[in-house]
């Protein structure tokens, strides 16, 4: 009896080992064969969530599988990111990465539970959204240079959607490059910060383009420059900080971006298939229309290109965070 039990154990172990060995080889060919999930580290209804739902629908059509969105908000997106990092690496749990999870948060949070490089395998960069430097229409600054002259006297403030947001850190980057003294006034979301700018309680903001654009169009806010190296398609007449001719601002590049990542151990074959599918998705007319209404730039590209993009982002924000001294112990 003991022997037969032992044999059975060995047989089971052998089978398990064979299955484990066979699994990855089968995985890429058979993928996808069941429902996919995109983890969004923010609440339903936010910008990241809306994007993820759009991608989920189009990716579902492309792969002929159901793609659902799972919201795991909390702790400035680090909670959901951690959960995505430790999910089963079978290519069915995708993660909607963004400038926070794979750019800013690793620099800001000292005790992060995930490693943006080690734990993840980048798939495709989807879109990027410029930030735009805006002032109240009644401000006497009509250009970046004029704003800087005014700000030299001190006492000026810049609003943001919260500590560690791309809006905040664009401001910090501007401060450190120009050597200006600007007081940071954080709000909880752009929805609260923009009214303060409209009312003149804060002097400037480096807002995400989609939330600022209606006020620029209505004339309530004046756009001085965009924060990307190239002008934004939605605001072609507005120049860039990089080309504003101000010392220290050359090469200024700050933007929000969104891309899909999977766990580090996912089969490279699956990553390649997924990347192809996502590149097809973002080229559809539906997605183009979606991006246009949000003032977003469609990106796309290979997993390798996305990986080196993330490397650059991590390094860039680390420098800004170190200089500004914003970190969470």
């Amino acid at each position: 009896m003991a022997t037969s039990l032992k044999n059975m154990k060995a047989a089971v172990l052998g089978l398990a080992a064979a299955a484990a060995l066979a699994l990855p080889a089968v995985a890429a060919d058979d993928w996808p064969s069941k429902r996919l999930t995109i983890i969004v580290p923010y609440s339903a209804g936010g910008a990241t969530d809306v994007l993820a739902r759009q991608v989920a629908e189009l990716l579902g059509n492309d792969l002929d599988e159901t793609v659902t969105v799972e919201n795991r908000p909390g702790a400035g997106a680090t909670l959901g990111t951690t959960q995505a990092a430790i999910a089963r690496p079978d290519g069915y749990t995708l993660f909607m990465g963004q400038v926070s999870s794979h750019g800013i948060a690793p620099a800001v949070y000292k005790n992060l539970q995930y490693d943006p490089i080690e734990d993840f395998s980048p798939v495709t960069l989807l879109i990027s959204i410029p930030n735009v430097m805006v002032v109240n229409q009644e401000s006497s600054a009509t250009s970046v240079a004029e704003f800087i002259t005014m700000a030299r006297d001190g006492g000026m403030t810049f609003g943001s959607s919260g500590v560690g947001s791309s809006i905040h850190l664009s401001g910090e980057m501007f401060k450190s490059r120009t050597g200006l003294e600007l007081t940071h006034v954080p709000f909880r979301g752009s929805g609260e910060a923009v009214p303060a700018l409209l009312a003149g309680d804060v002097d400037v903001m480096f807002d995400n383009l989609p939330s600022a654009i209606p006020h620029i169009q209505s004339g309530a806010l004046r756009a001085l420059a965009v924060t990307t190296p190239e002008p934004a398609e939605a605001l072609p007449e507005v120049g860039t900080l990089s080309e504003s001719g101000i010392d220290g601002l050359e090469g200024f590049a700050a933007r929000s971006w969104f891309g899909i990542l999977v766990q580090d151990d996912v089969d490279p074959g699956i990553v390649a298939k997924l990347s192809d599918a996502l590149n097809r998705v973002i080229a559809t007319p539906e997605f183009e229309a979606f991006a246009e209404t949000r003032g977003a730039q469609i990106e796309g590209g290979t997993p390798q290109a996305f990986a080196s993009f993330i490397d650059e982002e991590l390094e860039k924000w680390r420098v800004v965070v170190d200089e500004a001294g914003v970190s969470v112990e």
């Binding site: 209804g45 500590v163 954080p186 209505s218």
Partner: protein, 497 residues
Amino acid sequence: MDALLQGLELFLSVENFVAIAIGVAVGVIVGSIPGLTATMAVALALPFTFGLDPVTSILLLVGIYKGGVYGGSITAILVKAPGTPAAACSVLDGYPLAQSGKAGKALKMALYASCTADLVSNLALIFLAGTIASFALQFGAPEYFWLICFSLTVVISISGTSLLKGLVSGLLGLLVSTVGLDLVYGTQRFTFDNFNLMSGVSYIPLLIGLFALPEVIDFYLRKAKPLAVRGADASRVSWPEFRRCLPTILRGSGIGVAIGAIPGAGATAAAFLSYGEAKRTSKRRENFGKGEIEGVAAAESGNNGVAGATLIPLLSLGIPGDVVTAVILGAFMLHGLTPGPLMFEQNLDMIYAIFVGILFSSVVLLIAGSVAIRQFVRIADVPPHILLPVVLLFCVFGSYAVQNQMFDILVMFAFGIVGFIMMRIGMAAAPFLIGFILGPLFEDNLRRSFLISDDLGVFLRSPICWIFIALTVFSLIVGLRREYQMRRTAKAVEADS
């Protein structure tokens, strides 16, 4: 005028009527389930609007929102499990009414107050949007700070039997609200290195734990309680009763409109402020908290008065005041529309179509609410030994559903125990909630004021500041005096008997 006719034409389609009906119905059901909020329902419905007409999609979302805001009161009254934070105020008098067999009456008053407030709020949106929006923009950090100070004085009115215990409860709420990352420096406070606590204690699990769970715990600790099976509840709101509450409802609607128009203030503050004002001015104030129908009317009118008004900053300025309106803004943008002054110039017909639809939604809310009440009121007849396990199930499910985090279930149980202890020692839970919800607004705006200006004079910079300082002082003095008198009379009555 042309635009108005075009708008009417744009609105008059079967799709729009269906969208509003479905929206409101879904909203009422979702709102009534603790943990599932109007915000969530609106966000989840957004993808369904991709293929719809712009007006139809906006009306669907607005319908869900309005239904959701009202739906929160149903379970608040029936089983003390508020579906939304703002509905917690309806618990104060709604639940005692339900316990005394008048669930139907409480639910109906909640519905009538909600629909009246909704209508007032819609009319304010349509006729006063421009004026109110420019008023709302004058609310900077210092003005906001004083508004919150004034709102905090409501703790006096909702402290129950002991003002001291009420204040302690409110301070505990304030303390719990400081958990998480600090706004200005991002410092961790009371997080004990736990990542789940970094963005603070989530309010839905706290709300469910604090209000619904103590009832469940209490029932199981007093096992011997006889099974209370009641007959079908046919209690109604009589016309004289409604007429008596009408001033309260109209005042609540006004408070709701004012608070709703200010980005970020929220329905909870409006509901409690309306309740506090009603209690302060009512002839039957001794009855508040023990099952006074006027209390339900006050809470619900304040709560629902917010719904239409939050669309004011959105439509007239393009500013979303809360998460729901942010999602609705997203829906506008998906269809290539940008709310704000420009929309009034370029798509006036569409604005009118939406206005007509929103007015119509108040009527639909009345119908959907009546149908819902007829079904839901039977819950009051379910014996507790069957009902409470189901309530417990929904508590767990609702806490999990908010963020899909197991940790939130622990939060719910932890605050359930806190709530139970508070119930046992006669400490009201409502001040705790007010402290918890208003605490961050209080702190943020205080600190923002200091960031905006080095000068303390910033707190006195505008007439709005002065008005709210005066209101705060007035409310404190009158409230404390009333409480003192009430207590003295109560003692005298006790001594006599």
